[in-house]
């Protein structure tokens, strides 16, 4: 079974649902299954899709209630004698016909309009008789405003998040694989103590030791520093566990042969064991990237200065910064979610196999 994660576009939905299981008759449980899955798909996917669609709406379009399904913007027109483009309205005149006029200004329940073809003559129209002319319009300026607004502040946060994610993941991989190598390929006194003390940390949730962790970070002088978020998270017991399980399956003869050739222990680890463990390393790396990119509580406590904020912190505190500019916030939400969504499409199989194996053993 291949998971492309995509529906073949050739098959229509009805065709897709009506296919039969093998040569057996379809029974009611099949219908129930598909119904459940389709409802589930709507509940799981529409919220995210809605945020993406909303992020392309103009501020005016966002405040409408009920919200429009697609992003719309008022159509405007340049009229001779006016510097700015004027919004177009369909106006029902007293005689009952509809004409298209451009609005100059609105005063209470009256609006002053002009006929674009005849810009000198002003017409006063009751607002109730005018409906704005609209077209579907993707407001990409939300994204450009986000990326260029407030001096490109967003790039600072992107960099912080990337730095933490990349550096923490590399350190995690190296440190965990070193420990796993020692615990899987050597017999020495105290190996059980080491293993138990590493696995015991599984029982210590990070939230429970938040205060002392903060104290140690402060003592190291790393409050407000990205390293203060990186260091407490690098020794992941699950990573050691996964890698150790995998390295146990690598035959010891390889190591013996390398020792015959006078290879140093580090060389054996780096040149033989590590490359052979790449599937397990990939799983650990994916998990590390995921959790470091999404971390919230530790950065919230440790990163006190605005310029050291990660993307997540910036996103969570964004609302108090400009009042709430929803169009920018939605664009930022979309951009924060996208990298992982893309990564996920490519790495789905690794993630699911990793979760399944750690969860069961």
């Amino acid at each position: 079974m291949t998971d492309t994660g995509l529906v073949r576009s050739g098959a229509s939905v009805t065709d897709f649902v009506l296919r039969r299981r093998g040569r057996k008759k379809r029974d009611w449980t099949d219908w129930l299954t598909y119904l459940y899955l389709l409802i589930g798909m709507v509940i799981m996917f529409t919220p995210v899709l809605w945020v993406v669609v909303s992020s392309f709406k103009t501020p005016a379009n966002l405040t409408e209630f009920p919200p429009t399904l697609l992003p719309y913007a008022a159509e405007t027109i340049m009229v001779d004698g006016y510097d700015n483009p004027l919004p177009l309205f369909d106006v029902v005149t007293q005689s009952g016909e509809t004409v298209r006029l451009a609005q100059l200004r609105r005063v209470g329940i009256q609006a002053q309009m002009v006929d674009p073809a005849n810009p000198t003559e002003r017409i006063t129209v009751p607002v109730a008789n005018a409906t704005p002319v609209r077209q579907v319009y993707l407001a990409f300026e939300n994204y450009t405003n986000l990326l260029e607004g407030s001096g490109g502040q967003i790039w600072r946060h992107v960099f912080n998040s990337l730095f933490i994610t990349v550096v923490a993941t590399i350190i995690t991989l190296v440190m965990n694989s070193m420990a796993a190598f020692a615990l899987s390929k050597y017999r020495f006194r105290g190996s059980n103590v080491a293993l138990v003390s590493i696995l015991a940390t599984l029982m210590i949730p990070a939230t429970v030791v938040l205060v002392p962790t903060y104290m140690i970070v402060a003592q190291l002088g790393l409050v407000g520093n990205l390293w203060g978020v990186i260091l407490p998270t690098v020794a992941t017991p699950t990573g050691v566990f996964l890698l150790r399980q995998y390295m146990l399956t690598i035959p010891d003869e390889l190591i013996e042969a390398a020792r015959m050739d006078h290879a140093s222990e580090w060389r054996i680890f780096w040149r033989i064991i590590l490359p052979l463990s790449s599937p397990a390393l990939a799983v650990v790396a994916i998990f590390s990237i995921l959790s470091r990119w999404n971390d919230f509580l530790l950065p919230l406590v440790v990163l006190t200065r605005r310029e050291s904020y990660t993307l997540q912190l910036a996103l969570a505190s964004f609302q108090t910064e400009y009042g709430i500019r929803y169009e920018i916030l939605l664009a930022m939400t979309t951009l924060t979610a996208l990298p992982l969504a893309f990564a996920f499409i490519f790495l789905q199989r690794y993630i699911t196999s990793g979760i399944a194996s750690t969860g069961i053993k």
Binding site: D3, T4, G5, V7, F16, R19, Y34, G40, I43, M44, P47, V48, V51, E64, P66, P67, V174, M175, A179, A182, L183, F188, G190, S197, T201, M203, I204, P205, T207, V208, V209, V211, P212, T213, M215, A218, Q219, L231, V234, A235, S264, E265, W266, W270, A282, A285, N294, F296, L297, Q312, A316, L330, A337, L340, A341, A343, F344, Q348, S357, G359
Partner: protein, 332 residues
């Protein structure tokens, strides 16, 4: 070039440069300490981090909980004995938080006690149903699995903001409701609806994780058992209760423990979604620890540490009981 080789090669490039420098250094270390002690050299970095950021903090936490003042460093803090615990437990009536000197603690505790069972039960029921559906002979299994798993990838902040956007006064949900002809509701303004959505959203965000584990468990059940059941023309419900559920029990137990441990520690989503409000209706234990230790002035590290120790202790006892029960169950 496949994703895997790309991943491997880029990692190789990043790691190759320092590696060149490490190799001579490490062989020098080996000459110095001898091959017998090399495993400790390999363990050193990880053990240092584990001791510094996991084991040591537990003991420091105990010290914090029996010392007072708002000073951060332990050597500046006077010992106060059990005063922090006394403050937390100083109540006129344990079932009425408003009679307590630290009423927020009791409200957070009460909320957590209600939130965790409801959320865990919903989570496991939904995840099990989904896993059962995905385990059937269906078309597009990979696609559906991806759809259900997708929210697990999103950050808690993104999840919270997404739902905030949908639930707000002029949001999509109220739009749908008014389209059907009902009156819109301020979902996050009333304690009960805010609580409902807290449960719903956390289940929405994390169920994919448990679905994957349960699906792997279901796929590990040998097919011939089901074949035999089909020969005996057993009904689907009977097959589920007599075969699937008993064989899935160990996996379900793992899922249950994981779900409880994570549920008790729920913080990120609710902090962004409601900030613990309205009032303190969705404030859970971890948020209380955060508020009392980091967000409010003066910072009361002693109370935060005492509360987090109690939380850790509760989790430890729960896991212990679970393990004991499961071990007893396996001997039958």
């Amino acid at each position: 070039m496949s994703v895997r080789t790309q991943f491997a090669s880029s990692a190789a490039v990043i790691l190759a440069l320092p590696a060149r420098l490490i190799e001579p250094f490490m062989s020098g270390v080996q000459k110095l300490v001898g091959i017998k002690r090399m495993p400790w050299v390999f363990l050193a970095p990880n053990l240092t981090a584990v001791v510094l950021f996991a084991l040591l903090p537990v003991f420091i936490n105990i010290f914090y909980s029996v010392s007072g003042s708002d000073r951060l460093y332990p050597w500046d803090r006077p010992l106060v004995g059990g005063a922090n615990y006394q403050t937390l437990f100083d109540c006129g009536n344990y079932f009425d938080p408003s009679t307590c000197s630290r009423d927020l603690f009791w409200r957070a505790l009460g909320n957590t006690m209600v939130f965790v069972p409801i959320q865990v039960v919903c989570m496991i029921v939904v995840a099990l149903l989904t896993a059962l559906c995905l385990n059937r002979d269906i078309r597009g299994r990979g696609f559906f699995r991806g759809i259900f798993f997708f929210p697990v990838m999103l950050s808690p902040v993104v999840v919270a903001l997404t739902w905030q956007w949908i639930l707000q006064r002029n949001g999509a949900l109220n739009g749908l409701i008014s389209y059907v002809g009902l009156t819109p509701v301020n979902w996050l303004v009333f304690p009960n609806t805010a609580f409902f959505w807290s449960v719903f959203i956390t289940v929405w965000a994390h169920m994919g994780f448990y679905t994957i584990i349960l699906l792997a468990g279901l796929q590990a059940i040998p097919r011939d058992v089901y074949e035999a059941a089909r020969m005996d023309s057993a009904t689907p419900t009977r097959v589920f209760f007599k075969i699937t559920l008993p064989l899935l029990k160990p996996v379900l137990l793992v899922v249950f423990i994981l779900a409880v441990i994570r549920s008790v520690q729920t913080f990120d989503e609710l902090y962004v979604l409601t900030g613990g409000g309205p009032g303190s209706a969705t404030m859970l234990m971890v948020q209380y620890i955060y508020e009392v230790g980091f967000a409010s002035q003066p910072r009361n590290f002693g109370l935060a540490a005492a509360a987090s120790l109690l939380l850790g202790l509760a989790l430890l006892i729960f896991t212990g009981i679970q393990m004991r029960i499961s071990r007893g169950g396996n001997n039958d």
